[in-house]
Amino acid sequence: MFRARPEVRPATVEVLVEGTPVLVPEGATAAAAVLLAGLPAIRETPVTGSPRLPLCQMGVCFDCLAEIDGIPNRQACMVTVVPGMRIARQHGAREALR
């Protein structure tokens, strides 16, 4: 679990994490919003169904792939929050299209 420090970075941007409103600081990423919301996992692995949360926060590991504003397979750690953003766990395979 992570928490914001409102005394230094006020949480002013409201996003929806799995449908629940969460206030996060400006400049936070969608992956940070997931951690601040306290979700136990952002996805389950396709092979064994084990829960995962983001590992690197910098676009390397792809362990943060999520559905953002209806678009699946987005690296949540590379997307900065905007008011009203919908961040949801991804259902089904997370094969990145290429």
């Binding site: 992570f2 230094v8 940070a32 136990p40 084990s50 949360l53 983001p54 792809f62 290429r98």
Partner: protein, 459 residues
Amino acid sequence: MSDFDLAVIGAGPAGMAAAVEARLQGLIVLVVDENAAPGGQVFRAAEACAPDPAVGPDIMPGLPLIAAFRGCGADYRAATTLWHLDPEEGVLSLAAAGTTETVTARRVLLATGAQERPVPIPGWTLPGVMGAGAAQILLKTAGAVPVGPTVLAGQGPLVWLLAVQLARAGVAPLVLETRTVSIAAALAKAGGGLVAGRGLLAKGLSLMAEARRRGVRVIRGVRGLRAEGANRVERVAWEGGSAPCDTLLLHEGVIPSTHVSRAIGLDHAWDADQACWRPVADDFGATSSARVAVAGDGAGIGGWQAAAAAGRLAALDAARRLGALSEDSFAREIAAPLAARRAALALRPFLDALYAPPNAVLTPPDETIACRCEEVTAGAIRRAAALGATGPNQLKAYLRCGMGPCQGRVCAPTVAALIAEVRGLAPQEVPPLRPRAPYKPVTVGMLAASAESLQQSAP
């Protein structure tokens, strides 16, 4: 006619310094970076987090460079990813905000920086285990800190920096240091660097002192690290000890991100001192490709001051090659950045020796997951290597390692080291994984959106 004289990929210290210098030399410059703001890893979100007392003191030194970069007149595209590069034709494919675009450049500078060395330990896929760098990114971009018992395990300068930053934010972690090399042994390899590097050394020592003063507890000589828990990490255990843990932050140093430099086929060389590959480059970053240069930690780990100096040198070389700078002026202009880089690198041999990754990190025990995407264990890779997989490219066929969404960014070093171990090869004898474009996923929707805009702009 190309759109730009110089296209710089990455707005970290190397890319920003290159852009500023190239603009001074009159070049038309493009800078793209995936992140929302300039600064790279070290100065990530610097403008936003400078007032935060937890990270402010470490971020301040980057503000002048960021300001110079913002004002230099380069075409800076934030939140934009390079997903394909054709080095022969100088064509760059960029993705931003749901669309893609193609631009051309006479010269290309990869200033794409480093990534954390993977730290595969048993249990590292459990939620709550992440890179130390990841926690630092959360702190810099969102001011966020872990809740509950936090353990920082590993070694290297970033461990001490993050320990202090977390402690300043009121969450002093327990540090489990995995260093295996004695200070005496590292000193023996330091050469004359200690004298020239004494400024950096003093900074490191004062950081350690600040950690102690702020209540960071340190256990040294930790081996056999493992994360344990049912659906998330609950404890961290090691040989002879364990501790409750809600967030486990791992760090064994950083290595160059070679994803793009590999994909475009640049020559790479094994760096035995840093136990990683780096693109082959001359003093000015020129590579085996006639058009492409590299600078900064993506070309070999040297820290941000060395990266900034290398960026300047690569920009001067670009100006010379493009005819904007005479040989005489070039010879004059390179003196200062060459000296700056030499000074910044003075302490490197000592740091590289002191924080050499232990074997257990490079070649983890059998039960450890090595490939997180496809959930392949180190044991399975050892068995495939014994059966005849001679390199990561063949291993893909056996086990799918490197075929998941990360395209081998995380597992490649481990897979190669395991193959080398089993087959009795030196690390550089294992043929490397060759990534392919797109470097980052591009959706059909994005391609369609750009095709549509092309059509609309057609006469």
